[in-house]
Symmetry: C2
Subunit: 421 residues, 2 copies
C-alpha cells in the first residue's frame, strides 16, 4: 500500500477555495430567486451583485444557514434572519426592501397554501387573540413613535411638508368631511384604536359616537381620555368587534379595521353595515390597506406582525361587502403615497427611540419592528400595497354630496345637500 502526499494547491492557480466558490454560486442563485433586484449579496469573502444596475444596498449574511433559508422562501426567512441579526443591510434599509419588493412582486405567485390561509375563519376569540398580539404591546411602546393622539393608520398630508401630528388631524377632518357629519347625528365606529377619531368627531362636528374595539389596553386609554376631555357623555367606547354592533345610525365609519376582518367574514360585515345605516340619510366610509388585485399579504408580516390580516383588492370589498347588501360606491380615493410618508415618519421616530434606548424589549423584537416599518414603507412606495378610502351609501339614497368641492374649501357645509336641487 502506497501513501502519496497530496500536493498543496497554489492559490494563485486554483482561485478561491471550494466553499467560497460554492457560496458564490449560492449567492448567484439567490439573486435569481430575488428576480435580479439591484442588490449585492455577501457571505464571508464571496459576493455577487445582480446585473440589474448599481446595487442600492448589500445584504450581508452572517452564516450559510440564513442564506439557505432565503433560497427556500425569501418572503418568510428574510424577515426572521434580519430580526436575528443573521442578515445585515449595508446601505438604505427601505431602498433595499423596495428593490426586493419590486422584483418579487413581478416574479412570484402566491402559493395555494397562502391563499387557503386567507380563508381561515375569524371567530371572535381568534379575532381577540390576533388583536391582542399586536395592539396590546403597551400604550407606551406606541406612544414612542406614533403622533400625539396615537393614530395608527395612514395620515393625510395636505402637503408633504406637514408634520405627522398635523397630518393625522387633517386625516380625521378629511374623513369627517367625506362623511358630511352634521350636528346631532349618530355615528358608529368599528375598530377605534385609541379613540382619537371618535373624540374628534364628537368635539368638532357635534355628533354622538359609539366606538367599538377588542383591545383592552386601547379601550382603557380611550375611556380615560374621553373623561378627561368631558366627552364621555357623547362618545361611548364599547368592547366588542363589528359583529356585536346592534346600533341604528346615520354614519358608519371604520378606519384601519377591515385588514383584520378576514375575507370570509366580509359578507357579515356588509350585513352589519347595511342594517345599521338609515336607508335614506345613511352613509359610511371604509379606510383600509388594499391591493391592486387579490393577493395574500406578505407571509412574514402575517406570521410575525399581523396574524390573520389580509389587504383586499377594491373589487373584493365591492363584491363581498357592498354589493350583496345594495350599498352604492360614492367616492374612492387612493392615498398610497400618504401611507409611505406616514411610515417614514413613524420609522424615523422609532429609530430615534431605539438609538436612545427607549424602545425596550429585546434586540430581536426591535429589529423585527424596524424591518416591519421599513418594509411597509417600501410596499406602499412600490405599489405593492394601496390605501383606499371608500365612501358609500344605501343605493338610490340622496345622502351623497352634490360635488366633492366641500372637501377642499373652508366652507365645507356647502358640499352636503345644501347645493342640491
Amino acid at each position: 500500500m502506497k501513501v502519496t502526499a497530496r500536493p498543496v494547491p497554489d492559490p494563485s492557480l486554483t482561485g478561491p477555495p471550494v466553499t467560497e466558490r460554492l457560496d458564490g454560486l449560492l449567492l448567484r442563485r439567490l439573486a435569481a430567486r430575488m428576480g435580479f433586484a439591484p442588490l449585492r449579496y455577501a457571505l464571508g469573502r464571496s459576493t455577487f451583485a445582480a446585473p440589474a444596475g448599481p446595487p442600492v444596498a448589500t445584504l450581508r449574511f452572517r452564516d450559510r444557514r440564513a442564506l439557505f433559508g432565503l433560497l427556500l422562501d425569501p418572503e418568510v426567512h428574510f424577515g426572521d434572519a434580519y430580526a436575528d441579526g443573521r442578515i445585515e443591510i449595508e446601505g438604505d434599509l427601505v431602498a433595499a426592501v423596495e428593490a426586493a419588493y419590486r422584483a418579487l412582486e413581478s416574479a412570484g405567485r402566491p402559493s395555494l397554501l397562502a391563499w387557503l390561509g386567507t380563508w381561515r375563519r375569524h371567530s371572535l376569540p381568534r379575532a381577540r387573540t390576533n388583536v391582542h398580539r399586536h395592539y396590546d404591546l403597551g400604550n407606551d411602546f406606541y406612544a414612542l413613535w406614533l403622533d400625539r393622539q396615537l393614530l395608527y393608520t395612514c395620515a393625510y398630508f395636505e402637503s408633504p411638508e406637514m408634520s405627522l401630528d398635523e397630518a393625522q388631524v387633517a386625516k380625521m377632518d378629511h374623513v369627517c368631511r367625506k362623511l358630511g357629519l352634521r350636528p346631532g347625528e349618530t355615528v358608529v365606529e368599528a375598530g377605534c384604536g385609541w379613540g382619537a377619531l371618535a373624540l374628534h368627531m364628537a368635539r368638532g362636528y357635534g355628533v354622538r359616537v359609539r366606538a367599538y374595539n377588542l383591545s383592552q389596553e386601547q379601550l382603557a386609554w380611550a375611556r380615560e381620555r374621553a373623561r378627561r376631555e368631558g366627552l364621555d357623555g357623547r362618545v361611548e367606547f364599547a368592547e366588542g368587534d363589528y359583529r356585536t354592533i346592534r346600533d341604528r345610525c346615520d354614519v358608519f365609519v371604520s378606519v384601519g379595521m377591515l385588514e383584520h376582518v378576514g375575507r370570509r367574514s366580509y359578507g357579515e360585515l356588509g350585513r352589519v353595515i347595511a342594517r345599521s345605516l338609515d336607508r335614506n340619510r345613511g352613509r359610511g366610509l371604509l379606510h383600509f390597506i388594499g391591493r391592486d388585485r387579490p393577493r395574500p399579504l406578505n407571509a412574514w408580516i402575517r406570521r410575525r406582525i399581523f396574524p390573520g390580516a389580509y389587504a383586499p383588492a377594491l373589487t373584493e370589498v365591492g363584491q363581498r361587502v357592498l354589493e350583496p347588501v345594495g350599498l352604492s360606491v360614492v367616492d374612492v380615493e387612493n392615498l398610497r403615497e400618504h401611507y409611505a410618508l406616514t411610515l417614514r415618519h413613524w420609522r424615523q421616530r422609532y429609530e430615534r427611540a431605539a438609538a436612545e434606548g427607549r424602545v425596550g424589549f429585546d434586540e430581536r423584537f426591535r429589529r423585527t419592528w424596524q424591518l416591519y416599518l421599513a418594509g411597509s414603507e417600501a410596499a406602499f412606495r412600490t405599489g405593492s400595497l394601496q390605501l383606499f378610502q371608500v365612501v358609500f351609501a344605501p343605493g338610490g339614497s340622496g345622502a351623497a354630496p352634490w360635488t366633492r368641492r366641500g372637501l377642499y374649501s373652508e366652507d365645507m357645509g356647502l358640499s352636503w345637500n345644501a347645493l342640491k336641487s
Copy 2:
C-alpha cells in the same frame, strides 16, 4: 225538454259587467307584477290603484292587448306600448317611470337569457352596426336637444343652477384636471363622439390628441370643426374602435364608450389601455354608466335604443379591465345625480322641440325617445343606474396627484407632482 228564459240581471244588484270585472282583476294582477308601485292603472271604466300611498300617475291602457303584454313582460312591453300610444301616462312621466323602477328593481331578478345576452361577442362589424343604429340618426336630430358642443354624456354641474352648456364645459375641465394634462403630452381618446373633449384638451391644455370613433357622421362633423378652429394639426380624428389603437401615449381617456364595449371584450380593452400607457408617466380615465351590482340593462333599452349595451358594476371594470393588466385605481367619483339632471335638461329641450314640430321622424319614434329620456332620468334618480369616473395609473407609478385639491382650486397645476416630496 224545457227551455227556461234567463233572468235579465239587475245592474244595481250585480255590479259592473263581467268584462269590466275581469279588467279590474287584470289591473290588480299587473299592480302586483309591478311590485305595487304607487301607480293607478286604468282600462276603459276599470281602474285599480296600488295600495302603496297616493298614486304618482295613472297608466291608461287603450286596449286589453297592451295590458296583456305588460302582464307578460313589463320591462319590454311597457316601452313598446307607450311608443305605439297604447298606453298613456296621466301625470308626470318621469315620476311614473321612477315609481315603476323602484318597485321592479327590488322585485324582479334578471333572467338567464338576459344574462346570456350580455355575453354576446362584439365583433367590429357588429359594433359598427350598433353604433350606426344609435349615433347616426343625424347630427341635426342631436343638435335639437344636446348642448351647443354636442356632448352626449353626463355633464358636471358645479352647482345645479349651471346651464347645460356650462356644465358640459365644466365636465370636460373636470376630466382634464383629473388627468392632470400637461402641455406637450399625448392623449388617446377612445370613442370621441362629435369631438368636443378632444378639441377642448388640445385648445385648453396644449396636448396632442388622437381620437377614435366608429360613427361616420360624428367623425365628419368633428373633422370639419377641427379644421374650422385650426386644431387639425393637434387633433387627429381616426376611424376605428379601441381595438385598432396602436399608439403609445401619456394619457388614455374614454367618456361614455365602455357601455358599448360588451363585457366579453373588457379584457381586450384593458390590454389596449395597458400597452398604450407609459409605465411611469401614464394615467387614464374611464367615464361610464354603471351599476351598484352586475345586472343586464333594461330589456327595452337594449332592444330599442342601445343594442348590445351593458352598464357594468365597478367591480366588473376592476376585475376584467384593470386588475389583469396591473392598473391601479387612483380615484372614483359617482356622478349619478349629475346624470339625472343632465337628462332632465335634454328631455326639456327635446319636449320643446317635439312640441314645436322640429323633431321629425314619426310619432312612434318621438314617443320612443321621449320615454327613453324620461326613463333614463328616472333610472339615475332611483339609483338603478350610476355614473362612474374612474382614474387609474400603472401600478406603483408616480403619476397620481398628491391630493385632489387641484380639482377644486383655480391654480390646478399645483395638484400634480409639484407638491410631491
